[in-house]
């Protein structure tokens, strides 16, 4: 029970996010209307994804340093769960784009950056699963994982800042920038980020435990 306090926190934060996310007052902005509330859900998917990919990176480096099979398992499952959240982010974003921008997919820098990131991580999984030898697999996958993390930083954090995006807050679009993200939204948004990230970590730990049991049975 003591070790699982963060799971309780996760549940409480997510319940709070859902209730407050739908009921609190939000800024009334053109184009966005009520979809501004997607910031508590869609945006949090990307935060969760980035945290999981960071976990994956840390354990890939640990695997390269210490050569433990467990670290490779953690890195792979973290990447898996990160991709899961990335896909949720793409789907929710696509639905949102249809009813604000009028198309399921546009050539927006953030959309393409996210898509390239997802493809890079798909390649990580494919590469890792293509090598049958456990030791070789861990090494090669870990090295590639460092590369794909750098690609993610470039395509999600740097590239969108180099040109205008259709996204709220970019290029003069109505948004919750430092002027608009008022304090009631912050009151929901920050707990939402923590809650969804904890959910991601929770899912990741379950995946890791299952994989470790599988490794154990095979030995």
């Amino acid at each position: 029970m003591k070790k699982n306090w963060w799971k309780i926190l996760c549940v409480l934060l997510l319940v709070y996010t859902l209730v407050a996310g739908f009921l609190t007052e939000v800024p009334r902005l053109p184009i966005l209307h009520e979809t501004i509330r997607n910031q508590y859900f869609h945006v949090c998917m990307w935060f969760s994804m980035m945290i999981l990919f960071t976990v994956s990176l840390v354990y890939s480096i640990k695997h390269l340093a210490g050569n433990k099979l467990m670290h490779d398992t953690i890195a792979a499952e973290a990447a898996n769960t990160g991709i899961f959240f990335g896909i949720l982010g793409l789907l929710t974003g696509s639905l949102w784009a249809k009813y604000t921008w009028g198309a399921w997919w546009t050539n927006d820098v953030k959309l393409n950056g996210a898509a390239i990131t997802m493809l890079t991580y798909f390649a990580y999984l494919v590469l890792r699963n293509a090598i049958p030898d456990e030791k070789k697999r861990g090494k090669v996958a870990a090295v590639y994982n460092i590369f794909s993390y750098v690609m993610m930083l470039v395509f999600i954090l740097i590239y969108p800042r180099m040109s205008d995006s259709l996204h709220p807050g970019n290029g003069g679009n109505p948004a919750f920038s430092k002027y608009d993200l008022d304090n009631t939204m912050r009151l929901v948004f920050y707990p939402a980020v923590i809650g969804w990230s904890l959910l991601g970590v929770w899912i990741m730990t379950i995946q890791i435990r299952i994989q470790q049991i599988k490794n154990h049975i095979d030995l």
């Binding site: 209307h33 009520e34 859900f41 998917m45 639905l95 299952i210 049975i217």
Partner: protein, 70 residues
């Protein structure tokens, strides 16, 4: 004459604002301030989590089968 002129101006100004408020089409997802886009987003996330649950169920079933074989 002045009154009629003012009347016409007022008439057209109201028509103008009327036509502006009609731009928004009230079809399905765009009704009620597009709140259903948020609902749809949450349903997508929920379906994703449920899919994950099904996958876990399958994984655990496989493990149970393997243990029972041993």
């Amino acid at each position: 004459m002045k009154k009629a002129f003012a009347f016409i101006i007022l008439l057209f100004s109201s028509l103008h604002s009327f036509s502006q408020s009609q731009v928004e089409m009230a079809d399905g997802m765009r009704s009620s301030g597009k709140i259903y886009v948020v609902v749809g987003g949450l349903i997508t996330i929920l379906l994703g989590i449920l899919l994950f649950l099904i996958l876990i169920d399958k994984k655990v079933r496989d493990i149970e089968k393997r243990i029972n074989k041993k």
